[in-house]
């Protein structure tokens, strides 16, 4: 009889999910868990930050963090997909993914994510829901399936030794590149940052960027993108290596800049240049600028796969990443220089003044200087532009 009851309970127990609304229970369950956080491992500063977060959640909550260093976020997506194909639904290898944009849209659509959980995390109360795009990811509503942990905005890094003045528009960039051939390039699409450059150029060149908020299928793609291809046709011969080779990733641009091969590069992190200068990865003459009409901004998120075996621990980590302590450290230009997702008005006096007293870093623009944040286009644009780019410029 007892056995039968136990047996009847088992399947329920096996599929019991931690409830983020009952935070104490989550903390209890999380203690002793190991969270495998799959995050891009190409940046030393980010890796150090993640290692620090691991030490802190171990001290505070008894949760062990293992950073699985990816070369590409899609590897983690593939892993979860493969596990579902193989029927591994309860204890997959991935507990938390650093994710956004197309990868998120894809995982959410495939039902590969756990949640919603983000809005129930205790530190959500500090998040700047109205001022920052933390509830949509490339126009796709997050619906609580991912938690934000850093804000990003496109800036351009320029070496003032060779390019003294900011360039206010894509047309100005084209003019400058034409008179300074070989001194500008961008990461090769479909690299995330390279595709961002295409989107940024399209928005800046468009009369009405609002058409990009709807999926490509529902828009007049050829007409909308025509200015972009005209721009690139003109720009490409003046690029670094005449556009016959491209840097493969964003950080590779830093190296080219440090080697004095280029003078202008795109970045998705306003603080990246300052941090790189502090790490000897860029010359001290580098500064940043944004375009007059503004630049694209978005948030970096973390999401939990549906088959994570340590969901409670993963939520504890996601919550910690949104804490004033972690956000303050991430914003420090000596450490990471990532923008915070928090609302200063929601913080305690003490935390607020700690944020206020953070030095911005030598090459970082103030929030006011960063100006207008433009919305990301619908994720289908990234895919379409990257594919089209590869046909036009990537296979010659």
């Amino acid at each position: 009889m007892r056995l039968a009851i136990l047996a009847s309970l088992l399947p329920v127990a096996a599929y019991a999910q931690p409830d983020p609304a009952d935070w104490d229970a989550v903390l209890d369950e999380a203690r002793g868990q190991t969270v495998y956080w799959h995050a891009w491992g190409g940046s030393t500063t980010t890796n150090d930050f993640i290692a620090w977060a691991g030490e802190r959640i171990d001290e505070e909550y008894g949760v062990t963090l293992e950073h699985v260093k990816l070369t590409d976020t899609a590897d983690a997506v593939t892993r979860v997909l493969t596990e579902r194909q193989a029927g591994e639904d309860e204890d997959g290898a991935v507990d938390l993914i650093w994710i956004n944009g197309a990868n998120f849209a894809s995982m959410k659509e495939e039902g590969l994510l756990f949640g919603p959980f983000a809005f129930d995390l205790p530190n959500w109360q500090y998040v700047d829901v109205n001022g920052k795009t933390v509830t949509t990811d490339f126009t796709v509503p997050t619906e609580g399936y991912e938690a934000p942990w850093a804000m990003a905005q496109v800036v351009f890094m320029h070496d003032t030794a060779d390019l003294a003045e900011p360039l206010g528009s894509m047309e100005a960039i084209l003019d400058w590149a034409t008179s300074n051939p070989g001194r500008f390039t961008y990461p090769q699409p479909p690299d995330f940052l390279g595709t961002t450059f295409l989107k940024q150029a399209l928005i800046d060149l468009s009369e009405d960027p609002s058409v990009l908020a709807v999926p490509v299928m529902e828009s007049d793609y050829d007409a909308v993108t025509a200015p972009l291809w005209a721009f690139l046709d003109e720009l490409t011969p003046h690029l670094w290596r005449e556009g016959r080779a491209y840097p493969q990733t964003g950080p590779r641009q830093l190296q080219l800049m440090n080697d004095d091969e280029i003078d202008l590069a795109i970045s998705f992190s306003p603080g990246e240049a300052s941090t790189a200068i502090a790490n000897f990865e860029l010359p001290e003459t580098v500064r940043t600028f944004v375009l007059d009409k503004g630049t694209i901004g978005n948030a970096s998120f973390v999401a939990i796969p549906y088959n994570s075996g340590s969901k409670a621990g993963a939520m504890v980590l996601a919550n910690f990443l949104m804490s004033p302590e972690a956000q303050l450290r991430a914003q420090d230009p000596e450490i990471l220089g990532y923008g915070t997702v928090l609302d200063m008005a929601a913080l305690s006096e003490e935390d607020r003044s700690a944020f206020d007293s953070l030095a911005l870093g030598i090459a970082t623009l103030s929030p006011a200087e960063l100006g207008q944040v433009q919305d990301e286009p619908h994720p289908s644009w990234a895919t379409a532009l990257a594919d089209d780019w590869q046909e036009r410029y990537g296979t010659r």
Binding site: V77, A86, G87, A245, Q248, P251, Q255, P283
Partner: protein, 562 residues
């Protein structure tokens, strides 16, 4: 006792070996391709195949894979042959050998990064000549790296292939008794190079034929080297496959699987073409040998061989030295030949996790290699005892090296998961074994089979049972070959990226997984630290393979040939 071991496992080892090697490949291929072609669900669908064929860069990407693969293999083989012909047995050769062998241990990605830094327009060579000699105060806009013809890629592959082929050739060389041939050829008035090419090389080539094919297949399907040094508009086919695999659009996985099949077909076609070319070369070579010409370009051949070998070794060494300097560099900008300041910061950052990863890396390598060695010796010994000729089935052993990894590893991952094998250390060792075993077998089989069986006959006449012959005569005489096999096996294991990542679920961090992840960011300081640790991990076995025989056989003159 030894005898009983063989009694228990009559012929089981070759079968087991084949299963270890083939099972994962065939099942992996099936599990990768079947879903892509819709064979598991709605029936055959050719959509992904059509999409792959419609990709505008397909022709050029395939052509690049073929030209860089064949080009680099031909050049590497030629250099290897010239070095051996002109210098084997000399003191200068010993120097070059000491220089080249550890370079085999150098991970491909690290070697490529080092080379890239060396020859880029803003690289070390340009820096040391600027602005003084060149007049450049900023780097010229020259397309050296990633040139559209893949020349830099070929050069990068050659530098890594020469040490491999040379080591394989050296392991096989004693069995061809080059000393005696040389004496005879010299007595007949042949020069050193011509004599070697006419008498020793034909026999040597037969023994290293498989390593040559493996080199060809590797060069055609390499991903990491091609990303760093190869062209990207379009890239080689293998790089494009990996790009498709990591596309956020899940549908392109099918495209990648189908393209991997194309890649496999290309590799097979290239090997068949090579095989045909062998016939042609053999025909011409025989006429050349029979012509009795004593050769004219002796000196030039010798110098060219040594110069090219030394150049490729120096390029690798200088590249690594560059990375080593980067690992302690503060700000270092063009055109400074050396950093403006030095700092230990990179070592403090990466050193401790690096040592931890090194422990894991060596443990995996040691276990996988030990198992591989036992299986390889077991197969060869069984083959020997049954008196069978090297069976054609043994060809299958090389399948894991000839099939592009991207074609079957995703399927292996599905297989492991379906079998409920948890991800972690064990599956990683097994996955490594799949790649380590062929290399171990490859480097051991030639010398093992070429071992003069008359020793065995003599031992048997003296009353030794076959087990005793194996342990007391054969293996001791083949110590050098065994140690070389171990060193190669461990280097292969240390260098594995995709198998470690996929079988370990990302949870087993080795030097290579960490280094490749960091390499994606291109931070030369971090790459410097990890590349040096990685080289250290793979270097140790090579030092042993070179040093031990010299120590063991210091009083055995006949064992020192080669």
């Amino acid at each position: 006792m030894h005898r009983s071991v063989w009694g228990i496992l009559p012929g089981a080892l070759p079968l087991l070996t084949l299963m270890v090697m083939l099972g994962p490949v065939l099942l992996g291929l099936w599990w990768t391709l079947a879903p892509a072609l819709g064979l598991l669900s709605e029936g055959l669908s050719l959509g992904p195949l059509r999409a792959a064929l419609a990709w505008p860069g397909l022709r050029e990407a395939s052509l690049l894979s073929v030209t860089t693969g064949i080009g680099s293999t031909v050049i590497a083989l030629a250099i290897t042959a010239l070095i051996l012909a002109g210098w084997s047995g000399t003191r200068a050769f010993a120097v070059l050998q000491r220089l080249l062998s550890p370079l085999l241990a150098l991970p491909h990605a690290a070697a490529a990064f080092g080379l890239a830094f060396l020859i880029a327009p803003s690289g070390w060579i340009a820096r040391s000549l600027s602005p003084g000699v060149t007049g450049w105060d900023r780097p010229p806009d020259l397309l050296i790296l990633q040139d559209p013809w893949g020349l830099t890629l070929i050069a990068g592959l050659v530098t890594k292939e020469v040490p491999f082929l040379l080591l394989m050739a050296l392991a096989a060389l004693p069995q061809t008794a080059p000393g005696r041939s040389r004496n005879v050829a010299t007595a007949l008035g042949y020069g050193r190079v011509t004599g070697f090419l006419k008498t020793v090389f034909p026999r040597l080539y037969v023994q290293i034929r498989l390593p040559v094919y493996v080199t060809l297949a590797y060069a055609m399907s390499t991903v990491d080297v091609a990303i760093i040094l190869g062209p990207n508009t379009p890239p080689t086919l293998s790089v494009q496959i990996v790009r498709w695999m990591s596309d956020p659009d899940i549908g392109t996985r099918d495209l990648a699987a189908v393209a991997a099949l194309l890649q496999l077909a290309l590799v097979i076609a290239a090997i068949l073409a090579w095989r045909l070319a062998e016939r042609g070369v053999a025909f011409l070579g025989r006429r050349w040998i029979e012509s009795g010409r004593r050769g004219s370009a002796e000196g030039a051949g010798r110098v060219a061989g040594y110069a090219l070998g030394a150049l490729s070794a120096l390029a690798l060494v200088a590249g690594i030295a560059g990375l080593a300097v980067w690992s302690v560099a503060g700000l270092w900008s063009f055109p400074s030949a050396l950093p403006d300041g030095l700092t230990w910061r990179s070592w403090q950052r990466h050193g401790p996790p690096g040592l931890e990863a090194m422990g894991t890396t060596l443990a995996i390598a040691a276990i996988a290699t030990a198992v591989a060695l036992v299986l390889a010796i077991g197969c060869l010994e069984t083959e020997e005892r049954r008196g069978v000729r090297p069976s054609r089935a043994m060809w299958l052993l090389y399948l894991p090296l000839l099939v592009p990894q991207t074609a079957f590893l995703p399927g292996v991952q599905i297989g492991l998961l379906s079998a409920g094998l948890d991800t972690g250390f064990g599956p990683v060792v097994v996955a490594h074994l799949v790649f380590v075993l062929p290399y171990v077998f490859l480097s051991l089989a030639g010398p093992y089979r070429a071992w003069d069986a008359r020793y065995s006959t003599v031992a048997a006449t003296l009353g030794a049972a076959s087990g005793r012959v194996l342990w007391r005569v054969r293996l001791p005489m083949l110590t050098r070959a065994c140690l070389t096999a171990v060193a190669v096996g461990m280097a292969v294991s240390v260098g594995q990226y995709l198998p470690t990542l996929l079988a370990g679920g990302g949870r087993v961090a080795t030097l290579t997984t960490e280094a490749v992840a960091l390499a994606s960011g291109g931070d030369r300081r971090a790459i410097g630290v990890w590349a040096i640790l990685q080289t250290g991990a793979a270097f140790l076995p090579f030092a042993l393979a070179l040093g031990l025989p010299a120590l063991l056989f210091r009083n055995r003159r006949g064992m020192q040939d080669g």
